[in-house]
């Protein structure tokens, strides 16, 4: 098994069935997977923030830092390498918030940006584990497209 690790503001994809793509450290960040069951190709992006704040330069420099540019770039990379856009299955995890936070809501804003992006592109999430106050680790298994979220020692499949 090859373990491909996705850092914050990063994306990785693969079509090797033995690979597993993982991202740790999902706090308020949101992790999004896209998987094509036909080619068994999939990717995982780890976005820090919803959109580039008045900075086109930063979005160009670090596209995976932001939900609106990061997810789009991941889809483009998958399609360029042979995935079928219409077959892609999307899942998401993360988007936690500080307890009692009514000030910043970064996790909530990340999730809202993702939902808006999905709506505009007329696709939907097939599974998600978002919100709350817990850290999460997200795995995408390329052989089956299985997405597993681990948090506080417990695992669940999306």
């Amino acid at each position: 098994m090859g373990l491909l690790v996705v850092s914050i503001s990063d994306m990785k994809f693969s079509r090797r069935r033995e690979d597993v793509i993982v991202t740790y450290s999902l706090g308020s960040c949101i992790g999004v997977t896209a998987y094509d069951p036909g080619t068994r190709m999939g990717g995982l992006v780890h976005c820090l923030l919803p959109t580039a704040f008045n900075s086109r330069h930063r979005a160009e420099d670090k596209p995976f830092m932001f939900v609106n540019t990061g997810v789009a770039r991941m889809v483009r990379a998958l399609v360029e390498h042979g995935a079928d856009r219409d077959r892609l299955i999307f899942k998401a995890a993360g988007g936690a918030n500080m307890r009692g936070d009514s000030l910043f809501n970064t996790g909530l804003r990340n999730h809202e940006a993702l939902c808006k992006l999905m709506e505009v592109n007329r696709v939907s999430l097939s599974g998600e584990d978002v919100g709350g106050t817990i850290p999460r680790t997200m795995f995408l298994h390329l052989d089956t497209g299985r997405v597993v979220v681990r948090s506080l020692g417990k695992e669940k499949e999306l």
Partner: protein, 288 residues
Amino acid sequence: MTRREAILSKVAEVVAIPSFAPKAAVLLNDPDSDLVQLARIIEYDPGLTANLLKIVNASFFSGRNPLLTARDAIDRLGSAQMLRFVVSTGVAPTFVCKVEGYDLAPNMHLQHSVTVALAARELGAVLGLDAPDHVFTAGLLSGVGKILLGAYVEVDVRPILDLVDRGMAFDRAEDEVLGVNHAEVGALLLEKWKLPQPLVNVVRHHLRPEEAPEPDLVLDLVHIGNVLAKMIGVGLGLDGLNYEPSREAAQRLKLTPEILDEVSANVVVDLRAVWDLFLECAGEASPL
């Protein structure tokens, strides 16, 4: 003896906070290591920074102007030989494999502490504030109480998490179960070590700045730096994001979500520059 008294008596016996940087031991034993190498590793390690400030303030430069940062202490010692002598003889570093109870690998706690320090400093810069230099050190040391409770008390975290599940913030649940929270534990030790009061105050109140006797810019920056580090997600333990951001601190700093977003983005970029230090710590790397 109450649980609180038992914990505090155990913490009072602590003579040195463990380090998370095995590389420090290698450098300290290497007569050819230079000051820059040694200084960098000490500046980013909470245990070594606290131990160094303790010894230097007590033995070398006691007086009206105690040293507040590892950088100042290192500059005053002046040479690698002197630094090696002070650290090796006064605070021979010990290393922990895991912060028990909080389920933190050493590299995770190190990453989190450094992220708090970077975020606090970066927040001051983005806001255009002329923040004192010790904002980085205060941020780095803010979580030392967790190391102490994990390494020396081996807290059973389950009853704390039960209260968190019922809606209580983690530090308030610590108060309820242990009679003390990790911020207070850290402050009590640093106070006993006679570290400068501006550092002790930040450590004590960094989770609830509104309870400080008076407003303090460094405290506000470290409080929000800690919030940002948790939202970014670097080095999170079982306590997760279960802390309450202070409305008062946010208002004093005039924060907006846009400002926090900018700081978060800058911090993630800054972390790349210290990634090599994280890789040198612990057997496994917990990637950013």
